[in-house]
Amino acid sequence: MTGAILLWSVAAAQAMLVAAMGCCTYRLIFGPRAQDRVLGLDAMYVSAMLLVLTIGIRTGSTVYFEGALIIAVLGFVSTIALAKFLMRGEVIE
């Protein structure tokens, strides 16, 4: 029973996270400005990381942890590159 509840709620959580990604996609596409798109991508990365964690919970496997860890440690590299590009027009000076 509790197992079923868990699976159901994980599925629901996944649906919510995907929905969150969908919202981010809206910003990604429609902006309106570049910073909104970058913000959307950043938020999308976080949602994706959470989605990876929920998949881990659902399958009971720890091997997906690395994926989440990589997003946590390195995911910001691409978004700060984008942000810096907006600010300076150049990523590395």
Partner: protein, 120 residues
């Protein structure tokens, strides 16, 4: 999907609740990015996901895997630490970039750069 059955009831329920909470917070944050009107308002929204959204799901993961007994699962803490350290960097850089762009384009809502206090 056998592991869900292996989980003690309290752990399963806690995990379920935390997962739902985290996902809900993240979703609310994401909805915020849709609903809020200006960029500087929208920049607040994702932090729901990066703060307690992430926290709740990480907690769920810790509970789940600790209860499963596969390991004393605390490594998720690392994710929490790194997320809360790295996301601000992006947001800071982005906010700064945005305010510069707004200033350059002469949008009225942003304040001018703070004048230095001159020694009297």
């Amino acid at each position: 999907m056998s592991h869900a059955q292996d989980l003690p009831g309290w752990a399963a329920l806690a995990t379920a609740a935390l997962v739902l909470l985290g996902a809900a917070l993240t979703l609310i944050g994401a909805i915020g990015t849709l609903r809020l009107r200006s960029f500087f308002e929208r920049i607040h929204a994702p932090t729901l996901g990066t703060s307690w959204g992430t926290g709740a799901i990480l907690l769920a993961s810790i509970i789940c895997f600790s209860a499963l007994g596969s390991r004393p699962a605390v490594q998720e803490i690392l994710i929490g630490v790194f997320i809360s350290v790295t996301t601000p960097v992006t947001l800071m850089l982005l906010a700064r970039a945005a305010i510069y762009r707004d200033r350059t384009e002469g949008k009225g809502e942003v304040p001018p750069r703070a004048a230095p206090r001159r020694p009297d």
